[in-house]
Each structure stands twice: as C-alpha cells, then as structure tokens.
C-alpha cells in the first residue's frame, strides 16, 4: 500500500512537472510579447511591483505600493505607437528577505513584465538585480538607497538619493543643529542598510571632528534599554538609528519610558506613521531625513488621501490613518517615470525601455528626477529633514543639500 502510494506520488510529480512545463511555456510565450498578447483589442503592458508585503519591511513596502496603485488609478493607460495600452500592475512579494527575493523576481520575469518598480529595502533589490539583468528587464529602484543596488548592474536604475549622501546630510545636520560631538549609532547586525548608513554617517561625522560609538543588536532583539542607557552614560549628544520600522518603534517607546532627552536622528525608514505613533505623546526628539514632506504638493496630497480613504484595503495598508508617507510619493513618481520611459521608447519591449530610461527626465512631486550616466542613479542633491511634533504629525525642519 505504502509502496503504491509512493509510486503514485512520484508519478503524479512527474506528470505535474510536465504539465507545469507546458503551462509555463505558454504563459511566458504570451508574456514575451508583452503588450501584443490578448486578442480583444485591449492591449496591456505589465509593470512589475517588486515590494515586500510580509516580513519586517512590509509596512514600508505596502505604502510604497499604495503610491503606485494611486498613480495607476489616476493614469491607467499609456499611448505607444499611437495605440492605447492598459497598464497592469503585477505585484510580487519579496518577503523582505534576500533568500525569497530571487524567486519573487523570477515570478515577475515569468509573468512577462515590461519593467519593474521597487523595492523598498536595499538588500532584496541587490539580491534580485541579477535576475532582472539576466532577463533583460529594466528595474527602477524607488527608495532603495544602498550604493550596491545600481553599482555593477546595468539594468537597475533608481529615483532616490543614495546612502553616502544621506549619511552625510544627517551627520551635517546633527553637527549643525545640536552641535553634537559624540554620536551613538545603533543598527541591526547583518543588515546592509543599517550598517552601510552608519558607516557613511561615521565617515562624515568623524571627518568633521566628531566621535562615534557604534553598536549593533541581533535580529529579533526587543530589549534596547541597555543600549540606550549606554548611549546616555557615554555622553552621546545624538543617537543615530537607521533601523527598520519594527525596531524603530521599540527604540522610541523604550527611550520614552527611560525619559531619555538625547535627540534621535533617523534615516528614511523612520519616516513612517507607526514610528510617529510611537513618538506621540512623549518628549522624544525625533528627526528623520526623507524624500518628500506632506504639503510639498497639495494636489497630490489631497488626491492620495482621498485614495487612501476610499480604495479597498488602502487604509489598512497605510497603517490605519491617512498620513502621506514619503515612500508613497516616491512610488507615485516611480510609476510616472516608468510611463515616461515607455512613452519615450515608444515600445513595450524591455530592451527599448531600458535604452530610453537613461534620458528620461520627469518633474515629480518629490522633485526633479533625472538619471546619471554611470550607474543610472538619480541626480539628487536635496533631502528633507523633518521632526515629529509628538502629536502625530511631521513638521518640516529644513532642507539639506550637499554639493558633491
């Protein structure tokens, strides 16, 4: 009986695998034609949305995707070669983890997308980069700030600033605003985003004569009291924590209950309403650098708020309120950059779009977007720094520029 079962299973496996090949083959066959598939005259161009919907970056990924969905609802078509194409967003969950990212990326490739947007989180983008590269599909990084996303990968572009820039901006800000001499840096061990930013922050901070104390906590750590206490006893003037949202909320709440009066400086990941919620009603001073500040473009703010409040599931994805996250604005811009590229290429073929992307320029809600000629990074020299008002809102502190 057991034997029969085993034989049957193995046969089933073979059959299923073959059947899978068949369907896989036809699927990608129609996919490779991208827009030309579909016989009813409704031409479709697929844009892959490579974002985390689970794992520790899920909160950011969902907000970024909101921006794309809103943009898609606003402009659902693009005209190529005189014909109107429907733009379809194809999401794939990369689970915020570098081992799930390649398969999620390949899923997009096998669906026959014309180009890819994302991801929130640099690690997953770096891991998926070669997959898109090998398939010849261009990808536009929306808020992945690590230099290695685009370095060495011809097919990865990005529309946001980079970590060396962000680290320098924040170090300068800490020096100017708080006359900081000693900075305490805390990041997750083994997380390239955290450690990369800390390294750049350290470079800029020590170059300007400051002293940096670096610490890292293991993944899934939830007790930060000792770290914060150490920062206090070491006489830190500022605490730099470029950590993901889940850790940031913990650190802020624990610092609040410790009654810590050292200001916190965070990176773009901390610009999230969950962090804002954690700082609400406390005396914590929280400053973050970001891509966009609500109020920067009232029409966009109004439209996206309306979308968040009305679209199905959007309010949940935004964390239960309608504060506009910078990543949403970036997602919105990324979508339009993608449309610009398709229009400029006048084709839905990935290779043409890639060739056209280098010269795409676009004035988005987060500022002017253009790509440099070496890596396809955005040419940006401005970051917004904002602080929590501790009643559930951000307030623009300053705009910082660094001349490269």
């Amino acid at each position: 009986m057991k034997r029969f079962l085993a034989l049957a299973t193995s046969c089933a496996l073979m059959v299923a695998a073959l059947a899978g090949c068949g369907s896989g083959g036809t699927g990608s066959g129609s996919g490779s034609g991208s827009g030309s598939g579909g016989d009813s005259g409704d031409k479709v161009v697929k844009i892959g949305v490579f974002e985390p919907a689970s794992g520790d970056s899920a909160s950011g990924g969902k907000k970024e995707m909101l921006g794309m969905q809103y943009a898609n609802s606003e402009t659902p078509t693009v005209t190529v070669g005189g014909e109107e194409y429907q733009v379809e967003l194809v999401p794939a969950d990369n689970g915020s983890s570098t081992d799930k990212a390649p398969t999620a990326a390949n899923q997009l490739v096998s669906e026959g997308v014309a180009l890819v947007l994302g991801s929130y989180g640099s690690g997953v983008s770096i891991a998926a980069g070669p997959i898109f590269g090998n398939a010849g599909i261009p990808a536009i990084g929306v808020t992945c700030t690590n230099p290695n996303v685009t370095a060495g990968n011809d097919y990865y572009f990005r529309i946001c600033f980079l970590d060396p820039f962000q680290g320098t901006v924040l170090a300068n800000f800490a020096m100017d605003k708080f006359q900081a001499k000693t900075a305490y840096c805390l990041g997750e061990a083994g997380n390239e985003y955290d450690q990369g930013l800390i390294a750049f922050f350290e470079q800029a901070f020590t170059a300007a004569g400051g002293k940096v104390i670096k610490d890292s906590f293991p993944t899934n750590n939830s007790d930060f009291n000792s770290y914060l206490n150490k920062a206090k006893s070491e006489g830190a003037d500022v605490i730099f924590t470029p950590v993901s949202i889940a850790y940031a909320t913990q650190i802020i709440t624990q610092a609040a209950s410790l009654g810590l009066d050292i200001p916190f400086v965070g990176s773009d990941t901390l610009d999230d309403n969950m962090v804002l919620e954690a700082a609400k009603g406390t005396d914590i001073q929280l400053y973050v650098s970001t891509f966009y500040q609500e109020g920067g473009n009232p029409t966009f703010d109004e439209g996206v708020k309306n979308y968040i409040n009305t679209a199905d599931g959007a309010l949940d994805a935004n964390g239960g309120n309608d504060t506009v996250a910078a990543v949403t604005a970036m997602g919105y811009d990324a979508y339009y950059v993608a449309l610009e590229a398709i229009k400029k290429a006048d084709s839905v073929d990935p290779a043409d779009i890639k060739a056209a992307l280098w010269d795409v320029t676009y004035d988005g809600v987060s500022g002017h977007i253009a790509f440099d000629d070496t890596n396809g990074d955005a040419v940006r020299d401005t970051a917004y720094i904002k602080h929590s008002t501790n009643d559930g809102a951000w307030e623009l502190e300053t705009q910082q520029t660094v001349k490269q």
Binding site: P52, A53, S54, G55, D56, A58, S59, K62, S96, A189, K214, D215, S216, F217, P218, N220, N221, S222, D223, N225, S226, Y227, N229, K230, S233, I245, A246, T249, Q250, T253, Q254, S257, L258, G259, M274, E277, A278, D316, G319
Partner: protein, 294 residues
C-alpha cells in the same frame, strides 16, 4: 555606579521574562523529555490575542480571556500534535513541535499581514518610577517578584499536592507510573495548562515592556528560555529561574561591553554559554543525574 545598577536592573527584568517562559519549558521537558519548540510561539500568540481582544473588550475582560484562550491553545497543541506521537521516537515529537511552531508563525504572519502590532498599555504596569536614578516601568520591578512568588507556589504544588506527586512520578518513569494507576494524559495536560498560563502572563509583562509584536517575536526568547532551563538543570524549576536571571543579566552586560562590535555577539554569547555548560556539566546547575538503561 548608577549605570551599573541600571544595567543590572534591566538584566533582572529581562531575566524575569525569560524565567516565565523557561518554567513552561522545563516542566514539559521534565515530563515528556520534549523540547517544546512551539512554546515561544504560544507566547507570541498570547501577545497577539492581547492586542486583538483588548481592541474589542475592556482590559479587565480581555486579559483573563487571553489567559483562558492561551491555555486552550496549549491544551489543544498537546492533544493534537504531541499525544498521537507518544509512542513514536523522540525525534518525531520534536519535529512535530517544530511543525507547530512553523504553523503558528505562518498563521500569525497571515493574520497580521506581517506588520508589527502595538501592544496596548496596561494601567499601572506601564507607569514609570525612578529607581537609582533610572526611570523604569513598574513592570520591571514587578516581574522578578512575581516570578519568585510563582516559583514558591509551583514548588509547593509539585512537592505537596497529589497532582504534583503524579507529575514527579511521570517524570521519573513513564510506564511504571502508568501501571501505578496515574492518568498520564491528564497529568501531561495539566503541565501544558500551567505552562501556557505562565506564557500568557509572561506575554503581558513582556509586551508591556517591549510593545511591538511580530510573528517571530517568540522564537528568540523561547530559545533563550530553553538555554536557561538547560543552564539551571532541565526539569528543575528553581534551576530554570536562576538560569534565566543569570542569562538575562549576562546578556545585558554583554550589550554594554566597551569594545566595538561586542554587541553583535549578544545572542551568540548565550549559545556559547549553552555549549560550554552542555559539554562540562550536561545536567546543569541543579539537574539530577540520569543514567541510561540498556
């Protein structure tokens, strides 16, 4: 000095949290010889239950409900996942435990959508006081006291009552105690009920301190609690508690070590400690020596 005392305080507080979980581990291990990998996840589910229930009920209803539901969960896990495997090799039971842990984590990811959830503030426990110049929450002070009270109660239960006697008998020899007319299944269920109740109480204290709940939140405290149980000599409740406090304190002192990068090794340190103990004194600090019968 103030810095030293406050670090010690945090260590004791963390140790107290581990202790509450470690008791559950050590009791189950003492009786079933099973590392209940799912215990840390039961703790996580208790945290999530606290969040969801307090959203729809007032706290004085929600918190007892959390305990009841967690106990029910622990009971069901034992009945469904461990009881059918009682005669199977120990490895199968442990694999089943890993499976349950996998299931609970994945279900939690599905339900929460992978987003960190914020635990409600409990009145009084979340209020802060100042001890030795550091402002801390009441829960930090209360946890160790509660743990000590629980240990006294549990040792009384085990040494003085009939159920306790049955537990000791089952732990000593499974089959003989069955022959002596002890209802093994109800004894084991009792153990799981006590363990889960403690995990539920532990979750309230833990998440009042560290307010965000993610699906993997239980795995690390769970493993550390197990290390604590081994440290103290598995099967011994006072041993587990002392082990938990020691680990909590050591861990917090590793976090403030002055040389750079030391903090990367906070978890690694705990495991290194475990391996050293296992190699040099496998029975732990208070464990009884067991002999293999041929």
């Amino acid at each position: 000095m103030e810095f030293f005392i406050s670090t010690l305080l945090f260590g004791i507080s963390v140790g107290g949290q581990y202790a509450l979980i470690a008791i559950g581990y050590t009791m189950v291990y003492g009786i079933l010889r099973l590392i209940n990998f799912a215990h840390g996840d039961v703790f996580m589910v208790a945290g999530l239950l606290g969040i969801y229930l307090s959203a729809s009920f007032p706290l004085y209803v929600a918190m007892p409900l959390v305990i009841i539901l967690t106990v029910a969960l622990g009971f069901c896990i034992e009945r469904v996942a461990y009881k059918p495997l009682r005669s199977a090799p120990r490895m199968s039971v442990m694999i089943s435990a890993i499976g349950v842990s996998y299931l609970l984590q994945n279900t939690a990811t599905y339900v929460t959508g992978g987003q960190p959830m914020i635990y409600p503030t409990l009145p009084f426990l979340s209020d802060t006081i100042t001890v030795a110049g550091t402002s801390i929450k009441w829960v930090v002070v209360l946890t160790p006291i509660l743990v000590v009270v629980l240990v006294i109660l549990l040792t009384q239960l085990i040494n003085r009552t009939k159920v306790g006697m049955a537990m000791r008998a089952v732990a000593k020899d499974f089959e003989t105690s069955q022959l002596m007319g002890i209802k093994i299944n109800s004894v084991i269920s009792t153990t799981f009920i006590i363990g889960s109740a403690l995990a539920a109480v532990g979750s309230m204290l833990y998440f009042t301190n560290y307010s965000s709940v993610v699906p993997t939140v239980g795995s690390m405290p769970g493993l550390k609690a197990f290390v604590a149980a081994v440290f103290g000599g598995i099967g011994s409740i006072p041993g587990a508690v002392i082990g938990a406090f020691l680990i909590g304190i050591c861990e917090n002192f590793v976090k403030i070590l002055p040389f750079e990068g030391a903090t990367t090794f906070v978890d690694a340190f705990t495991f290194a400690l475990l391996i050293i103990i296992l190699v040099f004194k496998p029975t732990g600090l208070f464990g009884e020596k067991a002999t293999d019968k041929v």
